[in-house]
């Protein structure tokens, strides 16, 4: 129970004082609403020509309809749901690796730290897109959301592992860690009780950053036709719009819908990240307690 009341208090404080959080709150609420609506969607996104094609936005079809006879509003609902799902899955996969690598390198130190970090820095420096293009080119056709999430997750951890390691290193040097050791606590207890409140903000911030990165990467891969184009996502929406030369044909709403949804989703996540990140930063909490 304690954590839920703490969460509500954070939301209340942020809503009162931080405009970034207010915008994020509205945007993400809209996205989640749309995602929830997919349950009651009258149309099956994989079926085409269920509605008259190329209708501009109207009350009946808020986002208009596309040349494949699909209602863009419901199609984008499924697209947002799948993109969000992909983001969460990738973030989960890459968190596991990032925390594992970050904590081991940070805590063990010495040779293991140097070895892990030189491998890690190589992955950070490496241009990921060409490699992903190669990989998804070979897996074309069998690409599903979980598989793409796994692939993106395998390439999304090095930057975050660096940040987590830096945080752990700084905590190791602080003398309250030694006080905890000499109080007879085991290292697991120390990580959970002493270091977690400092590591958590970094993990939270990198999770959201990773979601942004992975959904963005999916858009790029889908636009090149390298992901499963029958599955509605923000990327495949743009892919089909390009495929049918939507811009040239003047069906601007076909392209406007995914672009607007993408901007709302990305801005919402980013503003959530920057406002909450500032709030849960240990330094702010200390100043709040009058430290």
């Amino acid at each position: 129970m304690g954590t839920t009341t703490a969460m509500l208090r954070i939301v209340r404080d942020l809503l009162k004082h931080d405009t970034r959080f207010r915008i994020a709150f509205v945007f993400l609420l809209a996205v989640l609403l749309l995602t929830a609506l997919t349950v009651v969607s009258p149309y099956d996104p994989s079926r085409t020509f269920k509605v008259p094609a190329d209708m501009p936005p109207s009350l009946q079809h808020p986002f208009g309809t596309n040349s494949r006879g699909q209602d863009m509003f419901w199609w984008m609902a499924f697209a947002l749901r799948n993109s969000l799902l992909l983001g969460l899955l990738t973030a989960a996969v890459s968190r596991v690796i990032a925390i594992l690598v970050g904590l081991t390198a940070g805590y063990r130190g010495g040779f293991i730290d140097r070895a892990l970090m030189s491998v890690n820095d190589s992955f950070v420096v490496m241009p990921v897109l060409p490699v992903l293009i190669l990989l998804s080119f070979l897996l074309r056709g069998q690409m599903t959301i979980p598989l793409l999430a796994l692939i993106l997750g395998l390439f999304g951890w090095p930057w975050d592992a660096r940040l987590i390691r830096a945080q752990v290193l700084s905590l190791k040097e602080r003398s309250f860690t030694r006080t905890a050791v000499y109080s007879g606590n085991a290292s697991l207890h120390i990580s959970l009780n002493e270091h977690l409140p400092f590591v958590l903000p970094v993990v939270f911030a990198t999770t959201i950053a990773n979601m942004l990165w992975s959904i963005g990467m999916e858009v790029t891969l889908s636009v090149l036709g390298l992901s499963n184009v029958s599955l509605p996502t923000i990327g495949t929406a743009i892919f089909w719009a390009n495929q049918h030369q939507a811009l040239v044909a003047g069906i601007w709403w076909w392209l406007a819908a995914p672009i607007v949804c993408a901007i709302v989703l990305f801005l919402g996540l980013y503003l959530l990240f920057s406002s909450v990140n500032e709030y849960i930063d240990p330094r702010t909490r200390l100043r709040l307690m009058g430290g």
């Binding site: 404080d13 009162k16 004082h17 709030y279 702010t284 100043r287 709040l288 009058g290």
Partner: protein, 330 residues
């Protein structure tokens, strides 16, 4: 005429985050005067407001610090100027470094890490007087640094190549490049070893004795004041509680806080047991009213808890703010 006089200065830190606003009353009614040709020491413990006092006097006032009331008057040639209200650019052009210079808290990172020492000298000198002949300027700097006992090749080194003691002596050389009439030294030797500290303080004393200017020395280390300062002011929780010549402060202090401080100083050769002082310095966000020392004062009376003691002038320039002492009001 006093070189610098601070009258009833109040400076607070106002912060407000997520709806919680706090006001820390760091300096709360401080008045004192600096004469020329003297070393005036300001002693006080952590959170007594001495660093804030220095920030206000040296004009580096940035939010959340704000001056609430009071004046800082500097005797500038014939007329005296209220430093808090003169226009920034004028302050920068004629007062900064030419009249008042500054040796910073001994945190050693006073020099720009990516510039050679001589370039920092050039930056400061060039701001106040155009360097027409660079060769002559370099010669003057080498001579200035040499006179202070520093090897001239220090000039073309980078700060990270100098030891702590060297960096602090370079900072003093920088502060004296225009032979200012007032040097403010904020904890100049806190981070130094005792032998290097002795050398740096002797250098500072030598400069003051030779040029007859005024040094405002701020440090928590009373033993340093005993060996360097001519007069000492003791600060507690944002106010000056006692001010007198060094001899009086160490041999015949009147304020209970000063008495306790002097008594509790360990000295080689004296193993007699010394008492600690109970409690802790007050939190300046909501300080106790009346005399702010009353919660820890062994002689606290009722009046101490309600009324702020007036600064009373005893003989020989000895001022003290304590209800125990009755004398002519300031």
């Amino acid at each position: 005429m006093a070189l610098l006089s601070v009258e009833n200065l109040r400076a607070y830190y106002r912060t407000e985050i997520y709806g919680i606003s706090r006001t820390v009353r760091a300096v709360d009614g401080v008045s004192f005067e600096l004469a020329s040709n003297e070393i005036y020491g300001v002693a006080g413990e952590s959170s007594c407001g001495k660093t804030t006092l220095i920030k206000v006097i040296s004009g580096t006032i940035k939010p959340p610090l704000k001056v609430e009331a009071g004046q800082v008057r500097y005797q500038f040639g014939l007329y005296d100027v209220d430093m808090l209200h003169i226009e920034q650019d004028e302050l920068r052009r004629n007062v900064r470094w030419k009249e008042i210079s500054y040796v910073m808290q001994g945190s050693m990172s006073v020099l720009n890490p990516v510039r050679r020492v001589v370039t920092t000298f050039e930056d400061i000198v060039d701001t106040h007087q155009i360097i027409s002949d660079r060769k002559m300027f370099l010669e003057q700097m080498r001579e200035h640094v040499n006179k202070l006992g520093l090897p001239p090749e220090v000039l073309n080194l980078y700060p990270h190549q100098l030891s702590g003691g060297m960096r602090q002596r370079v900072a003093i050389a920088l502060a004296t490049v225009f032979h200012p009439r007032l040097i403010i030294a904020d904890e100049p030797t806190t981070a130094l070893d005792v032998v290097v500290q002795r050398g740096v303080l002797q250098m500072l004393k030598g400069i003051q004795a030779e040029s007859g200017n005024t040094v405002l020395l701020v440090t928590h280390d009373l033993a340093v004041h005993a060996n360097v300062a001519d007069r000492v002011a003791i600060m507690y929780a944002g106010r000056i509680v006692e001010e007198a010549s060094t001899e009086i402060i160490f041999n015949a202090p009147s304020h209970p806080y000063t008495q306790h401080l002097i008594r509790s100083l360990p000295m080689i050769g004296d193993r007699s047991s010394k008492a600690g002082l109970g409690g802790a310095p007050p939190n300046l966000a909501n300080p106790p009213n009346g005399c702010r020392f009353h919660p820890r004062c062994p002689h606290a009376m009722d009046v101490c808890r309600t009324e702020v003691p007036e600064m009373i002038m005893l003989e020989g320039g000895h001022r003290v703010a304590c209800h125990l002492i009755k004398g002519a009001a300031r």
